[in-house]
Structure formats: C-alpha cells, structure tokens
C-alpha cells in the first residue's frame, strides 16, 4: 500500500494530481480555522472550551461534523459544503417532480451542466440563508447554549459588520464548491467526497488529544486499538462481495478459454452504503425536533414520552432499538428499489448471458433475488451495529460523549478513502504499474 503511494508519486502526472489535491485540501483546512471578520478568535476559543462539556449530540453534531468544527469557530468556511450537499439533494429530488429538470437530465452532458449551474445558484441562496441564521444565533448567544456572552466574541454589532460576515461566509462556501470541482477536474478522486472526508477526519486529532488529556493512558490505548479494529472491519465489509459468474454464449471465442472468470455480477454485502444510516438518523431527529417545538418543561405526556425514550442523548435502549431496526429496514428497502433482479435477468437473457447452472429468464431472476436477500441480511445487521457502536460505547463506558469513531464518520471515511485509492490505482494501472489493492 505504502509502496504503491511511492510509485504514485514517481509518476509525474499522478504526482502533480496528488500534490494539487493536497494543496487544495490544505487551503480548505486553513480557511476552516481563519475566523470571519468581526469575530474575536480568543474569545471564541474560550467559549468553545466552556461549551465543550455540554451536550454535543444534539442539533449541531451532524452540521458541525460536515463543517469540520469550523461552524462553531465562526470561520470563513463555517458553512462547509453542507449548503452544496443540501442543494444537490434538493435538485435531485426536484428532477423527479419538475418535468423540465427531468428532461434536462436526460440530455446527457449538456443538460447535466445546466443542472449543475442551478445547483450552484441554489447553493448560494442556501448559504446566504444559513449564514444569516448562524449569525442571528451567535448574536443571541444560542450558538454556545448561552455558555458565554455574545459581546465577548462579537464585539461590534453594527449592521455592516453582520452583513460582511454573512457575505464572507457565503463567499467561503462558493470557494469550497469551486475547490471541490477543481479537485474532481485536476486532482484525484471526487472533490466533494474528499472535502467531506477531510472535514470528518479533521476532528480526529483534537478528539484524540482531548481523550489523552482527560482519560487515563489505558483508555486512550483501548480507544485507539478499538478504532483501528473498527476501521479494518469496515474496510473488510465494504470490500466484501459475492461474485455471481455470468457467461455469454453467443459466439465461439478463441482457443484459450477464460472460463467466464472475468464476467460476473459483483453483489456487495453492503449494497446500500451509508445511506440507510443517514436516513435513520434524520428520521430519529424528528422526535427531538418535536420536543424542541413543544417546549422541554411542559407536562405534556407526549413530550414526556418522547424525551424519556428518544431524548437527545440517544442512549435509551428503545431509541437504540428503533435506530437499529430503521437502519436494517432502510437497507433492505434501498436494495429492493435499486436492484431489480427481473430486469437484470431480462437484460442478460436478451444479450445471450446466463449464470452457469441456472436457466435464463425467471429462474435467473429468482436466483438473483435469493442471493441478494441472503447477502443483504448480514449486510444490514452490520450496518446497524456499526451505527450503534458509538452509542453502545457511550452507554457502556460512560466515557463522556467524545468517542471519536462515530458510525457515520467511519462509513464515510472508509467509503471515500476506498474510492480514491481505487481511482489512483486505475491511473497507475493505465501506465502498467502494480496496483494498490492486490
């Protein structure tokens, strides 16, 4: 693996691509710690320390995760790529609803370019909205749950300063968006995924440092080992696939027989990726939202029920059980809608392909369905377990809410990491170099 990186660096154009990517990511990280104008960085640091002990699993955990901690520092890149991600999701959903967008999508590259353009406009709009609301929250002190007075970190409150901050943050998001496209275009891997990857990874050192200073070295060591084992496990599971051999029997091929070894359908154990986890978390976020809306202290039995079982700490067994069940359910659901065995079987039949030992047509569809179900069961259970891990660790050790290896983070990290490595490998292989992964 390391050797392959060395080889990658020896290939001039690949080296340039890697260096370019690293360069952009460095600027991105720098921008995440540079405070926006009108913000007192020293005061912010103190506020952060004060707020740290408070609950961090609530509203901001996900948002802050995607901004790499930049949000709570009110940095120029405070918004991160979240607005862009939201915009893409919205436009993706809209393509289903709005016929014109759907038509554009079908027009291939030219249409896609237009949709990208719309995504950018929407990103700017969302960024304006989000930065305004963040500034509003910062001004009232809500951002740090009232841990410190707003006047300390935002000394000037005149309108011009506030507008400047909003504009700087919006511009920051635009720059990040541009960075992502630059990486995709001239660097290695998918720019947006790599930026998310960086932000997810960026909080690791500080969390580790905190554990080091707050806990005994033993616990630190155990957490490190556990983290590594976890990552290794996730890598293993993400790579796991069942290869269903397929043969095309429409012609006589040369004298050498390849035994169909190169033609197969790879079915992943975790076909759904990280999506079920994100779906489940957003769904379970709804009760918390309801609590917030109805008021925490009311005697309302609904609120009482919700805050007992689905409270913000999320460590109640009922919460964990529903989380797990939702993930498993979504995993099956996702596979069911994205992989249609009947269609795949039909397609294979049409072009003369078949699975050795199975007749084409319906028997093939049934077989694919059978394998898929058998495969998705462990896949879904694994996904649920990984997502539950931090909560279990929380419940078991009581080691305050800073176990850094959250399920979502690890799944994203490993997913993006593997994709990027594969792309580098593909680059290398075109030049007849040894690969990374075997």
């Amino acid at each position: 693996m390391l050797g392959a990186f060395v080889r990658a660096f020896r290939t001039p154009d690949l080296r340039n691509k890697l260096l370019f990517t690293l360069f952009i990511l460095t600027i991105y990280r720098l921008g995440s710690v540079i405070p926006a104008p009108g913000i007192n960085p020293d005061a912010i640091r103190q506020c952060l320390q004060g707020a740290q002990t408070e609950d961090t699993t609530g509203l901001y955990s996900l948002v802050n995760l995607f901004s790499g901690g930049a949000l709570l520092q009110l940095a120029i890149f405070a918004l991160g790529i979240m607005p862009y991600i939201t915009a893409s999701i919205i436009l993706n959903l809209l393509t289903v609803v709005i016929p014109r967008l759907e038509a554009l999508k079908k027009e291939g590259q030219a249409g896609q370019a237009k949709i990208t353009q719309y995504t950018r406009y929407l990103t700017v709009a969302l960024a304006l909205l989000q930065s305004t609301s963040i500034i509003a929250m910062a001004r009232t002190g809500q951002l740090f749950q009232g841990a410190c007075p707003p006047s300390s970190y935002m000394p000037s409150e005149d309108l011009l300063t506030l507008i400047t901050i909003v504009f700087v943050m919006t511009a920051g998001t635009c720059v990040i968006m541009w960075f992502g496209e630059l990486i995709t275009e001239r660097g290695v891997g998918n720019g947006m995924s790599l930026l998310i990857f960086t932000t997810v990874v960026a909080v690791f050192p500080s969390s580790m440092a905190r554990i080091w200073s707050e806990q005994s070295p033993w616990i630190f060591a155990i957490i490190c080992v556990a983290g590594l084992v976890l990552i290794a496990g996730v890598v293993f599971m993400e790579q796991a696939q069942r290869r269903i051999p397929v043969q095309y029997a429409k012609r006589m091929v040369g004298r050498r027989m390849y035994g169909g070894s190169s033609t197969y359908i790879p079915l992943k154990v975790n076909q759904a990726g990280v999506i079920p986890v994100i779906f489940a978390s957003s769904l379970l976020y709804l009760p918390q939202l309801a609590i917030g809306l109805l008021g925490q202290d009311s005697d309302n039995p609904v609120v009482d029920f919700l805050s007992t079982y689905f409270g913000p700490t999320g460590t109640h067994p009922v919460y964990m059980a529903s989380f797990f069940a939702l993930i498993v359910g979504f995993a099956f659901f996702y596979v069911a809608i994205t992989f249609n065995p009947a269609e795949v079987a039909d397609n294979m039949k049409k072009y003369g392909g078949f699975i050795p030992g199975i007749r084409p047509g319906r028997p093939t569809a049934e077989y694919l369905d059978f394998v898929l179900t058998r495969l998705t069961t462990p896949g879904a259970l694994y996904l649920g377990l990984i997502a539950l891990l931090p909560m279990l660790a929380l419940g078991a050790s009581g080691a305050s809410g800073n176990f850094p290896f959250g399920g979502t983070s690890i799944l994203i990290m490993v997913g993006v990491g593997l994709d990027t490595v594969k792309q580098i490998e593909s680059h290398l292989q075109q030049r007849n170099y040894e690969g990374f992964l075997r």
């Binding site: 006589m252 091929v253 033609t263 809608i337 050795p356 084409p360 490998e425 593909s426 292989q429 007849n432």
Partner: protein
C-alpha cells in the same frame, strides 16, 4: 492573455479568421504579375516556396495563395474566391475550416494539401468513401500538375502494388476505412518491405465532422483465417425444427434471438436430455445459439447470397456483395452449415483500430466541413482541433421553415405527399431526406402511386448517385435520398450545367424536405445545406411525427397531443419536445464516442508496447538475438548447419508468429471482458476502472510469454535440405484477411444501451 479573453468572448472552440482576411489584399496585389507568367514559370514559382522549412510565414502564405489561385484558374477554370483562400490558410494552420456547402471545400482542401506538399510534407486526404477519394484526386490532378506536386488515390479494388505506389506520392487521396485497413494489414507483415503506409505526416480530412465524430464510434476490424471449422450440421438440423414465437423469440430490431422456455426444453430433449446451462459443460450452448442466429436472423438473399457453393455477405447499407467481409466467431460456419455448403475457415479478430487512433497518428491534422461548430467541443476534446468559421462567399438567403408536427407517421406521410404535389406543380425541384434505405424506398413507392415520379438514392452506388444528385436541381425534379447518399456533390439550380437556372430560380430554388429529424441537429443542418448554395434561393422544412423513432425512444413520456383534423399538432410545446428528444440522442451519441475512446485508451497503450517490440523484431533482428540466448545450443547447431541468414529468417518468423498469436488471444480476452463489464455497475463499481483492473494483469508478462513460446517452437525446428521450414513447427500465418466495421458486427452487445438501462433502473429508485 488575448487568447483567453477571446475564449471568454467568442464562441468556444473557434479561432479568429481576421488575420487571414487581412492577407487577402496582399494576395490580390500579386495577381496581375502572376497572370503574365507562363505555365512553366508558375510551376517554378510554386517550387520556390519549397525552399523554406516549416510553417509558412505571412509573405510566403500570400505567395502560396496567389500562386494557387492563378494555378486553379488556369488548370480548372475556377478562380478561388477570397473565402476559399481564407479556408486554405486556416487548413495550413491545422484547423478545421467550416465552409458552407457549395463554397468549394474540395478546391480549398487541394490548395492546402499542395501547400503542405510543397514544403516537403506528405499529405493524406481522407474522405468518406472511395468514390469521393477518386473523384477529388482526378478532378484536382491538373491543379496539382501545374503546382508540381504528385497526387494519387486508393480504392477498395487497389492492389498492394498500386497502394504502395499511391502512398509514395506527395498527396494521397483515400477513404478512411481503406487507410485504416492498410494500417492494420501493415501491422501483420513479416518483411519490412511489405509495408505500404508510410510514416504519418499530415492528415487533411474532408467532411471532418462525419469522419471524426460520426465514424469515430466505429472501430475498423481486421480478421484472419484461423483454422478449418467443422460443419455443425446436427445443430443446423435441430434449429430448423424450432418454430418462431413458440420455441424462440426475436427482438424488435431483429438483432437478437433467444430460446423460450419450451424451446430450451425441446433442444435439451432432442440432444439427449442434457442441461444446456449446466455448470460443467457450456460448450453446447454457443453452438445452439450460433445455429439459431444463422437460422432466425440471417436470411438468404437479404443478408447473404449463396454463389458457387460459397456464402457471400451482402453489405446492408450498400446492397452489394461485400468482397472481403465475413461473419466472425463461428457464425460464418453456422450459416454455411445451414446452407449445407462446404465450411470455410473460421475467422478471428487479428487487430482493430478506431478512427480516432488512426487520425491521432498524424502529427498535423486539419479538415473541412459544412457543420463543425456544433461539434467544436468534441473536436477539441478528442482531437485538439480548433474550428475556423469561414464566412460564405455570398450571404445565404435560404428560408428555414419551422417543423411541421404530426401525431402519426401516416399523417406525416400524407401531409408530405400533399406538399410535394403542390410544390411540384410549380416545377420547383424537391429533395427529400430520409433516415434509411427502407424508408426511402417506401416513400418513393408512395410518391409513384400518387403519380409523382422520383429518383431514389441510397448510397448503394456512390459514383452513379453523384451523377444523379448533381441533377437534383433540375426543373421539376423530385429526389429522395438517405443521409449518406450523394455526399460531396453540389446541387446546382437548373441541373449540373445550370442551363435552366433562371426558370428554377423563379420557382424559388431547391426545396429541401426532411422526412423526420435526424439524431443530431448537425445532420439536419447538412440536409438543409443542400439548398441555398452560393447565395441561391431555396428553403427547407422538416416533417416530424411524434411517433418517429427519435422522439418515441428519447422522449417516451411525451404523449397525447391535441391534433387538428388532418393530424397536425400546432401546440408549440411539442416543438421543444422534438428538440429535447434530439438533444437526448446527441448526448447518448457523445457518451458512446467517449466510451469507445476511454476503453480504447488502455488497449492502445498495450498495443503500442507490442508494436514497438514487433518493430524491433522485424527490423532489428531482436527475435534472433533473443533465441540465440534462450536456445543457445539449438541456435548454434542450426547456424552450423544452414547458415546464419536462414536461422535469422526462421527466428524472425517464429517470434513474429507468437507475438501476433498472443496479441490476437489478448484481443479476444479483452473483447470478452468488455462484453460483460457493464455488470460490474450493479456492484457499485465503475466499469471502466474494473476494466483496467482486469485488463492490466492479463497483459503482464505478455512479451515474456511470447518469447518463451518462440523458444519452444524454435527448439522443435528441423533443417530440411539446408532450409528451415517454420510451418512444420506450427507457424501459420493467416493467408487471407478480411475486414469488417463493427456496426456490421452481428454480436454487438450495445454495451452503452445496457449500461444506460441499468443505470436508469438504479436511479429510478
């Protein structure tokens, strides 16, 4: 800096032609003096241009254009217009010149080719078919003679010697496929002297968009005889008893055939209760499938004829017997078994080349076409070519009318025939463009039934059709033509001699009617461009039905329009639906092109490795040196016995054989891999990355393996009468080769369609 500003302001992919127009004055000034010169002196002036090296500077460029103009005036009786000279200058700078139909692209190209040749460059002028290559070369020959450069052309019937001579000329005209097949054949020679195609230098491409974009999706394939196959009469007999729709079904386009459940049952029973899809033995199924393909999809006298006990293919797009074409991978034998004729040798793919790779071999590329701007970005992406838009000599006054939309093809046809009848009554010449041969013939029949006599052109015979289409502008003419037919020939109003011009101009000039929109707006424009040549009057209109393939396939959601009594759709929203469908088709074609390119990149790298090695074996005796090391004992003994030269000859042949053999096998593997690679998408993998992941290890050790096999064969050599017979040791060369283009390849899996469909299924979720 200026460049980047221009990029921002100007249309992407276009170059500024103003520097060229500025030179026109200087060219004009030279003209009177040049008129005084004798022919010999003019040739002399042209030759002087060759004294300098490299690209032309401004003074030389003006001189070249002036001399060229004068030469064209004397040799062809045609004095090139200013805009043609602008085109010449753009070509000499390595751009694609966009010049409208009838502006004299051929002459501009010829002057540019001469310009390159005078500076000692070797120019290949690539055209779309053999007829145009020959016609243009012969047409321009007097001009070239006067400028003192040699010209030659190549056609399908040219012999090896003729080709060799033609390629040694300064300027060679050839169709893209002939050139490609020559390059492929050259890769298989065993003697350096057998090569015909020289080092690539300058490629000047006529109809650049067709060649570089449309044809680029289609690789040229060279196949060779591998070994005698056995007739599979048993299977041929068996499939004869199967009945359509009960035992097998053919898909809509007639490209694929599958056994049904009961068909499988029957075949398995007939073959003695075997399991066709068994895991252990899958050798029977391909035989059944081939026999079935031959039986159900290929019809005698439509797809092939049986003559002198041989099965001969018919080239579908041309309706002629294809001389050097055969079906690959056992299908030929299956057809022969079906017809109970002697089974010939089976063919296998020896090598292939894409048009893209073919053109990119040339360090200097340029071209001309009527419609380049629409594909400017592709030309830049794939060929690093920029487009120079040359303004027309006289402004175009053609009227492009809005599409007429109909609900059903029947309504459309009725309306079109009515329109033809109305217009024809005024004597105005009409040209109707159709999508394919079958459509043009059906339409012609309906026109004839309505008492409207017409001429049909469908690219079956380029030469005859060029003569026919040249007359399409005659008073009262009706011509029905496919997109490919009669290309490169001008339609002059009043016939080719323009005798009747005045009368035709009065009727309004040529009336171009499109029988349905083409899969790209560029092709529409090409049809429109048939009218309005050199400022002639003319108009164009497209008749579209929403059930046309283009719209049904690419905008399937569009349904239920309000129609008038005669079936016409007047709702303007539908017009944009048609444009949308066309853009979808364009997007798909681009994706297809890009995919061909992407998948071929790695193969090209690997082929480069093999070819480099082959060159060393062929020219530098590498094989002999390697074998002298690997089989030191045998080598020394043989040298003792038959002499160094004979051993070197045998060593070369053996090494080349194993290299070529290995490459053919590797090619078969890659084709196999490519066929099923789209399935990887189902596992969330990128098929292209997966292709690389599998193709690279398979190539590893390729050269070592070939070397080891060569050593093995070499050890087995036995001298006979002081000679070494390599054939005894198993070295066979394919003694006949034949060619086919992949779109005639009956097994195309339509990879991209499959991926598209799979992707569609996924994204629907």
């Amino acid at each position: 800096m200026a460049e980047s500003v221009r990029r921002v302001l100007g249309k992407p992919g276009s170059v500024d032609v103003r520097p060229y127009t500025k030179l026109l004055k200087a060219i004009d000034e030279r003209e009177p003096a040049l008129r005084e010169l004798s022919d010999a002196e003019l040739t002399e002036r042209a030759a002087e241009l060759g004294n300098a090296e490299g690209p032309y500077d401004r003074a030389d460029l003006a001189e070249l254009c002036a001399v060229g103009r004068e030469a064209a005036r004397r040799a062809l009786g045609e004095r090139p217009f200013d805009v043609q000279l602008v085109g010449v200058m753009a070509l000499l700078d390595g751009h694609v010149a966009e010049m409208a139909t009838g502006e004299g692209k051929t002459l501009a190209g010829a002057l540019a080719a001469a310009g390159f040749a005078l500076r000692g460059r070797r120019v290949h002028v690539l055209s779309v078919n053999d007829y145009l290559a020959r016609r243009d070369a012969e047409w321009m020959r007097p001009l070239y003679d006067l400028l003192g450069v040699a010209v030659a052309w190549i056609g399908q019937e040219s012999t090896r010697e003729e080709r060799s001579v033609a390629y040694s000329a300064d300027i060679t005209y050839a169709s893209v496929s002939e050139l490609g097949f020559d390059v492929l054949r050259d890769r298989l020679v065993t003697d350096v002297a057998d090569r015909v195609v020289p080092e690539p230098d300058v490629a000047l491409i006529d109809e650049a968009d067709s060649v570089l974009v449309d044809e680029a999706r289609v690789p040229l394939v060279l196949a060779g005889a591998a070994e005698a196959a056995e007739a599979d009469l048993e299977m041929a007999e068996l499939v004869r008893s199967l009945r359509p729709r009960i035992h097998y079904e053919v898909d809509g386009e007639g490209r694929n055939v599958q056994l049904t459940e009961s068909g499988i049952d029957l075949v398995e029973r007939e073959l003695g209760g075997i399991d066709l899809y068994s895991e252990d033995d899958t050798s029977v199924l391909p035989r059944v499938n081939l026999a079935l393909h031959a039986h159900a999809l290929l019809q005698r006298d439509v797809h092939y004829v049986v003559r002198d006990g041989e099965v001969r293919l018919i080239n579908e797009s041309r309706g002629r017997i294809a001389l050097l074409q055969r079906w690959p991978d056992g299908l030929q034998a299956a057809v022969e078994a079906k017809e109970k004729v002697a089974v010939s040798e089976t063919g296998e793919i020896l090598d292939s080349i894409t048009v893209q790779a073919l053109v990119l071999r040339y360090p200097t590329r340029c071209g001309m076409t009527g419609t380049a701007m629409a594909v400017a970005e592709q030309l830049r992406e794939f060929y690093e070519l920029e487009v120079a838009v040359v303004p027309p000599n006289k402004p175009c006054v053609r009227v492009d009318e809005a599409d007429r939309l109909y609900a059903t093809p029947e309504d459309k046809e009725d309306a079109l025939i009515e329109e033809v009848a109305t217009v024809h009554a005024t004597g105005r010449p009409i040209l109707i463009g159709t999508q394919d041969v079958a459509e043009s013939e059906r339409l012609a029949k309906r026109l004839a039934d309505a008492g409207l006599e017409c001429v049909v052109l469908n690219a079956k015979n380029d030469a005859d059709e060029a003569a026919v289409i040249a007359e399409a502008g005659t008073y009262g003419a009706i011509t029905v033509s496919t997109q490919m037919a009669g290309r490169g020939t001008d339609i002059r109003l009043g016939g080719s001699d323009m005798a009747d011009r005045e009368r035709v101009v009065e009727t309004g000039g040529l009336y171009v009617m499109g029988y349905g929109r083409y899969p790209s707006s560029r092709l529409d424009d090409q049809l429109r461009g048939r009218a309005g040549r050199q400022g002639d009057p003319g108009s164009s209109i497209f008749f579209v039905s929403v059930e046309d393939d283009l719209i049904a396939a690419n905008a399937p959601e569009a349904r239920g329009a309000d129609v008038t009594a005669d079936g016409e759709i007047t709702d303007p929203a539908w017009r944009s639906t048609v444009n949308h469908a066309q853009r979808v088709a364009e997007g798909q074609l681009l994706e297809l092109h890009r995919n061909t390119w992407r998948y071929n990149q790695l193969i090209d790298v690997q082929r480069g490795v093999v070819l480099e090695h082959r060159q060393a074996v062929l020219a530098e005796g590498l094989g002999d040196r390697q074998l002298a090391v690997d089989c030191a004992g045998t080598h020394a003994d043989l040298v003792e016995e038959v002499g160094e030269e004979e051993v070197a000859r045998a060593a070369k042949l053996i090494t080349l054989y194993h290299l070529d053999r290995g490459w053919t096998d590797h090619n078969a593997f890659l084709a196999d891999l490519r066929e099923g690679i789209h399935l990887r998408f189902l596992g969330r993998r990128n098929p292209l990355d997966e292709f690389h992941r599998d193709a690279v290890p398979a190539f590893k050790g390729f050269l070592d393996e070939a070397r080891a096999r060569a050593a093995e064969t070499f050890e087995a050599l036995e001298p006979v009468d002081g000679r070494l017979d390599v054939a005894v040791a198993g070295v066979k060369r394919p003694h006949t080769t034949w060619t086919y283009m992949v779109h005639e390849h009956p097994f195309s899996t339509e990879f991209e369609t499959v991926v598209g469909r799979v992707r569609g299924a996924l994204s629907r979720g």
